[in-house]
Amino acid sequence: MVLILLSLATALLSYLLGARLNRMTAFALALLPGLGALILGVGTVDLPWFSEHIRLTLAPNHWGLVMLVLTNAMVPLIVLAGWRDGVHFSLQVALTFFMQAALNGVFMAQDGLAFYIFWELALIPIYFLALRFSEGDRFAVTLKFFLYTFLGSLAMLASLFYLYSQTAVGDDGHHSFAYAALQAVELSSTEGFWVGLGLFLAFAVKIPLMPFHAWQSDTYTQAPAGGTMLLSGIMLKMGLYGLFVWFVALAPESLRYEFIADWLNFRDLILIMGLAGILYGAFIAMRQNDAKRLIAFSSLSHVGLIAMALLTLKSDGTNGAVLQMLVHGINAIGLFMVVDIVERRLGHRDLTQMGGFAKSSPLFAALTLIVVLGTVAVPLTNGFPGEFLMLKAVYNSGTGACGILAALTIVFCAVYMLRFFQLSFMGPEKQVLSPLSWNEKWALMLIAGMVLYLGVQPQVVVDFIQSNTEQWLNAIAESGGMLS
Amino acid sequence: MSSLPIPFLVLSFLTILCALYVVSSKNPVHSVLALIVAFFSISAHYVLLNAQFLAIVNLMVYAGAIMVLFLFVLMLLNLGKAAEPIKSNAWAISAAISAGSILLILTAAFQRSGEQVYRNPSDSVGLVKNLGKVLFGEYLIPFELSGALFIGAMVGAVLLGKRDSGDHESAALAEEKGENA
């Protein structure tokens, strides 16, 4: 609650400040919720909301806490370097803070309806950010993004209501939206499938998993840099977080639902989607010349692996996936920041027109290289431990061929990320970049620092989430789910 | 059925006939006149039903006020001979089917509801005294509200009928001519 209220307060304040809001103030404001939560705690609450039975329950689990850290650490960086100076700066910052509030709510909610409300609330600021500040055919692209995600969310709402109607009736004669109650519902396989499908659709669109990605590349490419960072860095994690906490944990029965008798069940289908996404995203990213689109497709490739690893339902895979969610947030924001810094100076992001930035700005090149290496998952950068655990889990979970194909990502990722780096920073010097401004420099340095720190000390995060993961996996195993 | 009193039969026949004429007449003025006759016969029905006060009011309000208003508008706009576009047979048939199906369903509904005998006749309910008591007692608030409704209708009618200050008929006509040309 502290986090949400502080974020809302900063949003209001930065909107009211208007033109008087400068970058330093905005950054300070952005730090406020996180620092406030460090001092006061995140503010676990359990208040009656719509009624005594539909409550505002905010009590993050450890995964949620990791995501909260990501959100509240990354939003300041987005504010620091994601938004450009200009007349709309305060509006953009205010909407970013508003979004921060909603995201904080999503990662804390322990009540179905509250989760849904925060989930949809997060869509509002990004919708306006994309609509106002996108380039190109912004109405069509934003509308598509909005409708696509919104339809998925409606399916989730239906599933949540169905689950609600199936919860045990308490002493007072009412059903409950509480997470524990929803989780306790026993569903038949078919029932579970439909409920699971509804939940899955919402998350699969938001992540996005392979066949649901049609909105992604255009939105990522055309949205303003800050918006893209919010989308790929944090909002995408909502989908992954939901996938496990609100889909697998609530409807584990659905995973066993057989499409083709004994041969293809729902879980296999999701694994295939993840795998398809890995390869598909990688293949396309290898040939992109638009830097932003390249990173968008690389993101598609990376999250495919995360989804696969989550669905292995193994402690190493799931831990690795959560770790990677954090890491991917950092790296994606870093990469989009790099592209934006370049675009600000050149006015375009066509890789074939770039080259040789390393000569004029060696610091920028070094920082970018660190982020790129993190994305490529070179050991001792943050990308490696998560990817190692995930690939190991996928490979060892009995689907060897799947595991090998998934592991091809480490080759393909190297191909397209190094191509990106080489075309922009190496080669003959085509343009001279003006030096980084202080805010860009610091934002990138902080990100590079995180890349290195988490690369050497991933155990800090793993320790934090491990018990939580075990608990989840046991709960899923008990409630009739599958642990192969 | 056989012993239906003559006045009732005559009046009913007249009412239906006039109603049919209202609907079928090409000339709106004839329709208005037929409607007035129909209202008169309905008032006569009221008398038969011992609702004398209602009969008078019906004559005054409908036949008197409302129908005169209609006539007035007709003449004001000089619509008497205005050729009404003839609708195709398909329209007539579909309208007949719609109205007929309503008729069918309503009668069927009545048939199915069974013969409920309402025999608690009273000669006095239609008297002004009784009506007044109920109207100003039980229905006082609706009565006041209908007054408010009237004022609203009056204001509305005046507003609608009034020409806009900037709107000159000549200008409208000129515009129309321009469009035609």
Partner: protein, 106 residues
């Protein structure tokens, strides 16, 4: 024994007013002249009035007749406003046929 309603069954009034109602309805559907349309509506209202009065008398309850008053009130108001609208439309379109009014087309 001399009153009509003791000789006439209420069902006849019901049939009568149903027939009147449907004639009015047919007129509404069939005619295009807005004034005739309004008249048909008055006819329909009157058929309802007749039925209400009949029920009121047969049941010995004066509420039915009071409803008739209210219906008359509404009918009068409706006629006034309706005709005013009509006049205004006529001023703008030089016609009172309803199919000119297709601005609601979606």
């Amino acid at each position: 024994m001399n009153t009509v309603f003791q000789q006439v069954d209420i069902s006849h009034y019901i049939y009568l007013s149903t027939v009147l109602f449907c004639i009015g309805l047919f007129g509404v559907l069939f005619r295009r002249n807005a004034i005739v349309l309004l008249m048909c509506i008055e006819l329909m209202l009157n058929s309802v009035n007749l039925l209400l009065t009949a029920f009121s008398t047969y049941m010995g309850d004066s509420s039915g007749q009071l409803f008739v008053f209210f219906i008359m009130v509404v009918a009068a108001a409706e006629a006034a406003v309706g005709l005013a609208i009509l006049v205004m439309i006529y001023r703008n379109t030089r016609s009172t046929t309803v199919n000119f009014l297709s601005n609601l087309k979606g």
